[in-house]
Amino acid sequence: MKKIISILVRNKPGVLSHVAGLVTRRAYNVESIAAGPTEDRKITRITLVVSGDEKVLEQVVRQIQKLVDVIKVDGIPHESAMTGELALITVSLPRERKSELMNLVSLLGMTVKTIEKDSITLQVAGSAQRVDSAINGLSPFTIKSMARTGLVALPLGQNGEGADPFP
């Protein structure tokens, strides 16, 4: 089972190592990890996607909760989360297939970042599914390199959630 764990932490140096270290040390399976600022510059949000059985996941959440820098942890089931991800994909572009590719790009809702002589770099953002299907959709072409951010998430229907005031 997959679970999204959304963590608010004090924005301290080393906090990401503490979280990442804990998760890997306990041999939990991390699918992705993403970190970035929140509306409060003293607070960082880390989004983890982990898989494992329910009991293991509960342990992850509790162990993370215990870390000194952690303000709040939410284990969010996939269906009750707003999620998003971004990917950059460079594909090789044989000149004669340019229009074929451009069709695909608009069909898959991607945007063009740069065009080189024989390659093109595309961007896609949205749900993980959308990113997955964009990548799959590009399969007639050769993907030269790719970077995905990993999922970021907010719980559904909790506007302003996570703004726990912390001095």
Binding site: V9, R10, P13, G14, S17, H18, G21, L22, R25, E58, Q59, R62, Q63, Q65, K66, V68, D69, V70, I71, K72, D164, F166, P167
Partner: protein, 572 residues
């Protein structure tokens, strides 16, 4: 040698400032942390300069591992925070075992390490080690102080973290240039940490549910752990147990929290606990864990632990609750607060049938203490020491068979009188921890019981004991082998004693003499009582090397992962 620091080159310090190193010393003194253990080196020379004639008592160990175990023993014996100082690189990495040991047993330590200057960090410079990164999984929290302005705040927050909630070791890594920078020493703001406040009152509903279960229970057992020592609740537990006729099992770390020899005392549960302890747990209808981890050495096979019992678990660390076992009655919170609330809720009722059953189990299945006229039986040695040292002595053990015999046969009636490396099982802990304990609890007699193996891991600290005239009594349960491992090889590997028999051991008594510590050897049972008298009558530190039966085994034994009453039948 200069008493006053030589005039510093360069511009005079800005008015109203002190150096980072001086700030560390001022901080220690202000917080009453007047005894520190450590070992100097290049990256802490400024700090040691500030310590010079400062009023802080610095104990110079002979190895950083010794220093950190001393700080640990000091903290366990006194209940205050142990402080250890080491230099960068090898000094810091030598702390690793001791930090992991303190982390596993939730001992509050403040470890201060020197680091190469901020300008060199990350360049593999001389004696650079990333102790911040290395110590993440083995500390409760850690800091790399990159700026002198953050120094005092980090120390204050670190100290707070080390001793509040579930205690633990905190490491503060201070680069050399931060130690020499000038800063304005200001009292840090009130410390506010994110997340849960461990001082929060426990949930009323949870306490009420526990009270109700305890009233209903016909066969209650309290399973008490090191958390009860940290929370200082020995008396509350005694009152509660007597009021509700609960039998009380104490984990290795909690030995002494409930008085050994009490009619309701079950002693150590688990792998090497007395049969009656595990049988009582097996028959119980309610196990109440109090500040305890339900360690695998106690629980064994999770599915067969206390099969008829509801499990209640009170712990200040919510992550412990339900970690290994399914818990029906979880109570997260400070033990002191929970027990107080419980006392208010509870209408205790005597359970004479359970009391009688416990007495019967204890009578029918006592620990076996073998006797021999030929060779000293280690169990006998431990009993003799217990009598001779008296109730107020602090016993410190190393790790191995002798540790388990101490857990079984020492009679300890107060908390902080039995110190042992539980979670990590660190050989080499005994002697330095005993030195630290003796320096912390100066009025109490401290006895270190070590194996011949573990003693050889940190024996250089004899020099430290001698230098500071620490009156620690050292007893070596000398079986000429790594007894505990040999026992497993005997039981589970057809007596293939692979690398567990010492073909050579030094003469420990003479070795002690070289360190200026009087030493004696005992080879025959008839000489033992006299030698024990000698040990306790000798002034200052003294060492007794006792040849014990090399074939003796720790029994009963429940093999790892087995059920609660699967006692191993050893052929003798």
């Amino acid at each position: 040698m200069h008493d006053k620091p030589p005039a510093a080159a360069g511009p005079p310090p800005p008015k109203g400032t002190i150096t980072g190193a001086q700030a560390v010393v001022k901080f220690l003194l202000d917080r009453g942390l007047k005894t520190v253990f450590g070992y100097p080196g290049g990256a802490v020379i400024p700090l040691y300069d500030a310590l010079y004639k400062s009023g802080v008592r610095h104990i110079l160990a002979r190895h950083e591992q010794g220093a950190v175990h001393m700080a640990d023993g000091f903290a366990r014996a006194t209940g205050s925070v142990g402080v250890v100082i080491a230099t960068s690189g090898p000094g810091a990495t030598n702390l690793v075992t001791g930090l992991a040991n303190a982390h596993m047993d939730s001992v509050p330590l403040l470890a201060i390490t020197g680091q190469v200057p901020t300008t060199s960090i990350g360049s593999d410079s001389f004696q650079e080690a990333d102790i911040y990164g290395i110590s993440i999984p083995i500390t409760k929290y850690n800091y790399l102080v990159k700026n002198a302005d953050e120094l005092v705040e980090s120390l204050a927050e670190g100290l707070h973290i080390a001793r509040t909630g579930r205690p633990g070791p905190v490491l503060v890594d201070i680069p050399k240039d931060v130690q020499t920078s000038y800063l304005k020493y200001g009292e840090p703001n009130e410390i506010r940490l994110p997340g849960r406040d461990p001082g929060e009152p426990p949930s009323e509903a949870a306490v009420a549910a526990l009270a109700e279960a305890l009233e209903r229970s016909q066969r209650p057992v309290f399973y008490v752990g090191g958390g009860a020592v940290a929370a200082g609740v020995a008396e509350d537990i005694l009152r509660l147990a007597e009021g509700s006729d609960a039998a009380v099992a104490t984990s290795l770390l909690a030995k002494g929290v409930f008085p050994d020899g009490h009619p309701l005392s079950l002693g150590l549960p688990g792998m090497h606990g007395p049969k009656y302890s595990n049988m009582a747990i097996n028959e119980s209808d309610l196990i109440v864990g109090l500040g305890v981890r339900f360690d695998d050495r106690v629980v064994g096979d999770v599915r067969r632990f206390a099969p008829f019992a509801k499990i209640a678990h009170v712990d200040v660390d919510p992550a412990e609750i339900g970690k290994r076992l399914q818990v029906e009655l979880p109570v997260a919170g400070d033990l002191k607060l929970v027990l107080k609330a419980l006392q208010g809720e509870l209408k205790p009722g005597p359970k004479p049938r359970w009391r009688a059953r416990v007495a019967e189990l204890k009578k029918k299945h006592p620990l076996q203490a073998p006797e021999s006229p030929e060779v000293v039986k280690p169990q006998k040695l431990v009993s003799l020491l217990s009598e001779a040292a008296g109730e107020d002595a602090i016993f410190v053990t190393d790790v191995g068979q002798h540790q388990m015999w101490c857990a079984q046969f020492l009679s300890v009636k107060k908390p902080r009188r039995f110190l042992s490396s539980g979670g990590l099982g660190t050989m080499g802990f005994g002697l330095p921890a005993a030195i630290g304990a003796a320096l912390g609890a100066e009025k109490l007699q401290v006895v270190a019981v070590c194996g011949d193996g573990g003693f050889q891991m940190t024996l250089q600290e004899l020099a430290c004991a001698r230098q500071y005239d620490v009156p620690v009594k050292i007893v070596i349960s000398d079986n000429g082998c790594l007894g505990m491992v040999r026992q497993w090889q005997q039981f589970f590997h057809k007596r293939r004693y692979s690398e567990t028999i010492f073909q050579f051991n030094p003469d420990f008594a003479r070795l002690a003499e070289v360190f200026g510590v009087p030493g004696r050897r005992v080879e025959k049972p008839r000489d033992l009582p006299g030698a024990v008298d000698w040990l306790f009558q000798t002034k200052g530190a003294a060492l007794l090397d006792v040849f014990v039966d090399p074939e003796e085994n720790v029994l009963p034994m429940i093999p790892a992962g087995k059920g609660q009453t699967d006692f191993y039948e050893a052929e003798t």
